[in-house]
Symmetry: C2
Subunit: 127 residues, 2 copies
């Protein structure tokens, strides 16, 4: 187990998977930095992502490993992977394939609704 | 429990907290969209964030609720909160106070290292 200093200031990638063996991953579009989605990787998904250059994730609902885009065509060619200070989160930068989107609902980003702050904070606004 | 369609296409904010009562939250800077950090909120942290307009998180390591910036001055005035398709993740847009940073290491973003893809994928590069 690395020390806090090794985790934060070290040059060794030592991703910290959680009790379920997963690490959270935020994915953004290389062209404009738009946040496309948030998902999880297990060790194998991360290994395949690094080795193949295409994003793989672990589906918590289906409990399966998947290569993003296999069904939808919305592949994600990885141009960069970052980790955060304590190495328990990843930030992927990708070039999306297919229609350029990432969300299974057909939208480009999964974050297609915002909270109606200051008015009705239990309401969502599409935009 | 909302249906999948209600979660994905509804106008009701129904955040899905995990087994530990937490929801993951990605935070970006309002000025340029830079990803600053990734953290977690419990129900109370989310409520306080919405009510006060300043980001509150739940620290998993310290097991405490904290108002971001109370110690560091790096407050986060919230300009937007988004949720994703299945409402188990949040995307905050904020105006950082203090020195404009978010990371306790002194850097602006927690994601200050990238994996040396294609060369030595267990090595991290600072940039």
């Amino acid at each position: 187990m690395p020390t806090q200093r090794e985790l934060e200031e070290g040059e060794t990638f030592a991703p910290r998977f959680d009790a379920n063996g997963l690490i959270v991953c935020v994915t953004r579009d290389a062209t404009d930095g738009q946040i496309l989605m948030l998902a999880y990787m297990n060790k194998e998904a991360l290994r395949l992502t690094i080795e193949t250059g295409f994003a793989h994730y672990w589906s918590r609902s289906r409990q399966t490993l998947w290569r993003k885009g296999d069904a939808s065509g919305q592949t994600q060619k990885v141009t960069e992977i970052r980790t955060d200070c304590d190495q328990d989160a990843l930030l992927l930068t990708v070039e999306p394939g297919g229609d350029g989107g990432a969300c299974h609902t057909g939208r480009r980003s999964c974050f297609y609704r915002k909270i109606a702050l200051g008015r009705d904070s239990d309401r969502l606004v599409f935009d």
